[in-house]
Symmetry: C2
Amino acid sequence: MSQSSETTSVQATRARDWLLSFQDSLCAQLEAIDGPVPGFREDAWQRADGGGGRSRIIEEGGVIEKGGLNFSDVHGKQLPPSASANRPEIAGAPFRAMGVSLVMHPRNPYVPTSHMNVRYFEAQPEDAPAVWWFGGGFDLTPFYGFEEDAIHWHRQAKAACDPYGKDLYADTKAWCDRYFHIKHRDEARGIGGLFFDDFTGESFDHAFGFMQSVATHYAKAYIPIIERRKDVDYGERERDFQAYRRGRYVEFNLIYDRGTIFGLQSGGRTESILMSLPSRVSWRYDWHPKPGTEEAKLYTDFLPIRDWI
Amino acid sequence: MSQSSETTSVQATRARDWLLSFQDSLCAQLEAIDGPVPGFREDAWQRADGGGGRSRIIEEGGVIEKGGLNFSDVHGKQLPPSASANRPEIAGAPFRAMGVSLVMHPRNPYVPTSHMNVRYFEAQPEDAPAVWWFGGGFDLTPFYGFEEDAIHWHRQAKAACDPYGKDLYADTKAWCDRYFHIKHRDEARGIGGLFFDDFTGESFDHAFGFMQSVATHYAKAYIPIIERRKDVDYGERERDFQAYRRGRYVEFNLIYDRGTIFGLQSGGRTESILMSLPSRVSWRYDWHPKPGTEEAKLYTDFLPIRDWI
C-alpha cells in the first residue's frame, strides 16, 4: 500500500488515514455481533499499476454467511473510461481513488443483506485544475420485509445527512432509488438508503465530514436490525427464497454497478471487487411468489419506492 | 410470433422455418436422454416492440438440472448500439434478428455444461444496401475434464466446418477461444468449440448451410458425452466445485456475453435471456483448488487453450 508522491495530496492523506481507522472500527463492531469465531481474515494486496488495499473477509461466520469489508487506495496515470463518462475534462488524467466498501450477506433470511461504500477521488488533468470529490452511501436489501426495520434504516440515513444540508437526505435517498434500480427487471434492488457522488459540499472539510457521517451511521442503521432478526427461526423455504433473491444482487452488481465495472476495467483486484457476490445463489425460470405470501409482500410492500420516514 | 411485412424477406422466412423445426428436433433428442419426465415446458411470448419467441425450459430433469432452449425472432425500427458497434453503416437501422440458443446445466458435475447458438440477422439502412449475416457456435464447459470428451467435442466441431471451408474450423475455434475468455480472471470459460459471426460465406445458401451444419453437429458432439458421464458417482465435493465454477459462467454471461447485453439493451424478454443462468451457484473468496487434485487439473490441463485434434 505504498503511496506515489505524484498523486499524494494533504487531503488524500487525511482521507486515507480516516478510512483505514474506520475500517478497523467497523470490523470490530461487526465481529462483536457475529461472534469472535471465525471473525474477519485479512488479505493485503498490492496493485501492479499503483496502490493496493486490505480486504477483510468473513465466510461461515456466526451471523454472516459471506461478507467483505475492503479498503483500497489505487492510483494510475490514466483514468479508465468508465470513470470519466460524465466528466470529459478529466478523461485520461492521472488519478487516485480510495475507499472503504462493504457487503454483508447474512445466513438468516430474516436479516437483510446490506451494502455500504465511502470513497474519495482526485484527478490531475494536464491542462486543467485538479479535481476531487467524495462519494458513498448505504442501502438495504431485505428478503422478508419489516416496516420497523425499514423506518429505522431510513431514520439513520436522515440523521447522517441532516447536519450537512437540509435537502441532503431527500436528494441522496432519491439518487439511491435511481441508482439501485434493476432496469431489465424494472425492480428495485432493495429498500434503498443513501447514494451520493461528485460531492464537494461547501469545502473539503464539509464534504469530508459528510462522508464520515454516512460511514459511521451505517453501523447504527444495520446492527440493531441484525440484533432484532438474527435468531428468528427459518427453514428451507426461506433459504430458497433468499438464494433466489440473491440472484438479483448478482445481476445488479455485474451488469450495472459502477464500482464493479470501474474496478474490473481499471485492472482492479478481481477477488476484492467480486467479494460482494454471495454464496448459495439460485436462478429459476420466470418464478413468482404466490400472491398473499410473505415472499409476495417483498414485491408489493417493500420494493416499490416509498417514503419511509 | 407475428411477422412484420416490412422486415420479412424470403431469406428470413427460410431461416425462420428451419430454426423452428430445428428447435423441435433438438428438444426431442434432449428429452430422449433426459427421460420423458418432466421434459421441456414451453413458454411462448410476444415482444411489445416487435416479434416474439418460444422458450423451452427444463428444471429438475433426469440429467439436466436447469436448461433452456429458446427460439426468438425479433425486429425493430432502430438497431440498439451494442449490435452496431463495429458496423456504423447500420447504426439505428430497422433490423430483424432470429435464432435458437441453448444452455444446458446438468446436475451431475461429471457432465459438462454446454452452450449452442445459431442466428440470422438482417438490417435495412435507409441510405445503404440491406445487409444480412449468420452467426453461431457451440462451446463446452467441463467441471471435471476428460481428454476423450474434449477430443470428441472438437472432432464434431471440425466435422461441422470442413465441408464449408478448409480454414473454417481453425478460424472459428480460435474465435471461440478469444470470445469465451473471462478477462478479469484471465481464464477460459471452458474448452471452447466454435464461434462465428457476420458470416456471409460464398452465398446465402452456403452460409445458411454452414449454420445448419453447426446446429446439427451440436447434438452429435454433446449427447455422447452426456451418455458417457451421466451415471458417474459424485458427492458434495463435486457439487461444491460445480457450484463454484458455475459462478464463472454467470460472470461471463452478465459481463461479456454480447447476446445477453444485446438482448437486455433491446428490450428483450429478461426471463428468456437469463434462462442461461444456472441454479445452485456459489462464490467463495479467493478460492483455489489444492495442487494435484482433480479440481486443479481443470485449470492446468483443460482451461489453457489447446489444439484438441
